[in-house]
Symmetry: C2
């Protein structure tokens, strides 16, 4: 199946959020604002998108998103992605939040955390979910792939019943959802 | 003179910041993350770009950037742009910050504040400057024009001597710099 263009995913997300009255926030590390920019390319996005934080430095992840200092030795991890999603949702007062952290490249990779390793997390008031990816593109392609994964995760969440408190996959390397 | 491509401006900004050891933060309303995304498209940007806030709702402008509630009746104003720049610089601990607020369109315009009206502010520890524009493009063109104006303002500031405490134009509708 051919991949849908990013604006098509943005349109779907906006339609779902407006239909269901859900607000959205974003916390971005490796995408550097691309997710928020794609969302706000669409007129009417201000009705459901409250805003986001571009947390490029670890200090910003801690100060603006409340990521615990103890997690920052591994800024690209499922735990940090989860903490970023929970933090931005609460601080910006949104129903739903997405967060991404990864190694966009070309620098910054290691054997344990190669270029392309990316975590995408989603949080609402009751539960969280983290998905793990390893992209193999260049910096621009990895940013776009992460933005796509974030939009797809948000769309999946918006399609779930609002009252479902047990919808999380708990894919966070085996640790339970908070 | 032909306009330079946005990635060329980003390259120039990065070279200047690395050369002069300056860090940068951004607070974006009408650009919705585009400035941060353009900056972080370039490898090595994490050395000087600490991050940003996408303040799409007025609540985020107040909660994350410290914009005074009394200013929020006119979220598109020189005062709000200035408060956003000062707020994001302090909260993210950057040497220099840029902020933008405007009416991207197609909706949201009025006789007093037409579609395209945009304020771009810059702040360092000592001074601030605000520039006013009225773009006449569509939503995408207005976002790109605002991002260009923000990058050009940052580049102008980076070229000034670091010790200059009187460099602001004070173009904020006659009010003095804080």
């Amino acid at each position: 199946m051919a991949e849908e263009a990013l604006p098509v995913l943005v349109e779907r997300l906006q339609d779902l959020c407006l239909e269901r009255g859900r607000s959205v926030a974003a916390a971005e590390s490796c995408t550097g604002g691309l997710i928020a920019s794609l969302i706000t390319d669409r007129p009417g996005s201000s009705v459901y998108f409250v805003g986001g934080v571009v947390a490029y430095s670890n200090a910003v992840k801690q100060a603006l998103l409340g990521v615990p200092p103890g997690q920052m030795h591994g800024a690209v991890s499922a735990q940090v992605a989860r903490s970023m999603a929970v933090g931005v949702r609460v601080r910006l007062g949104a129903d739903l939040a997405v967060a991404v952290t990864g190694v966009a490249g070309p620098g910054g990779g290691s054997a344990a955390k190669p270029v392309g390793l990316t975590y995408v997390a989603c949080a609402d008031a009751e539960t969280t979910e983290v998905r793990r990816f390893v992209w193999n593109g260049d910096r621009a392609a990895n940013k776009a792939a992460t933005a796509r994964a974030a939009l797809e995760l948000l769309i999946d969440w918006c399609r779930r019943p609002v009252s479902a408190g047990t919808a999380a996959s708990g894919a966070d390397e085996g640790s339970p959802s908070p």
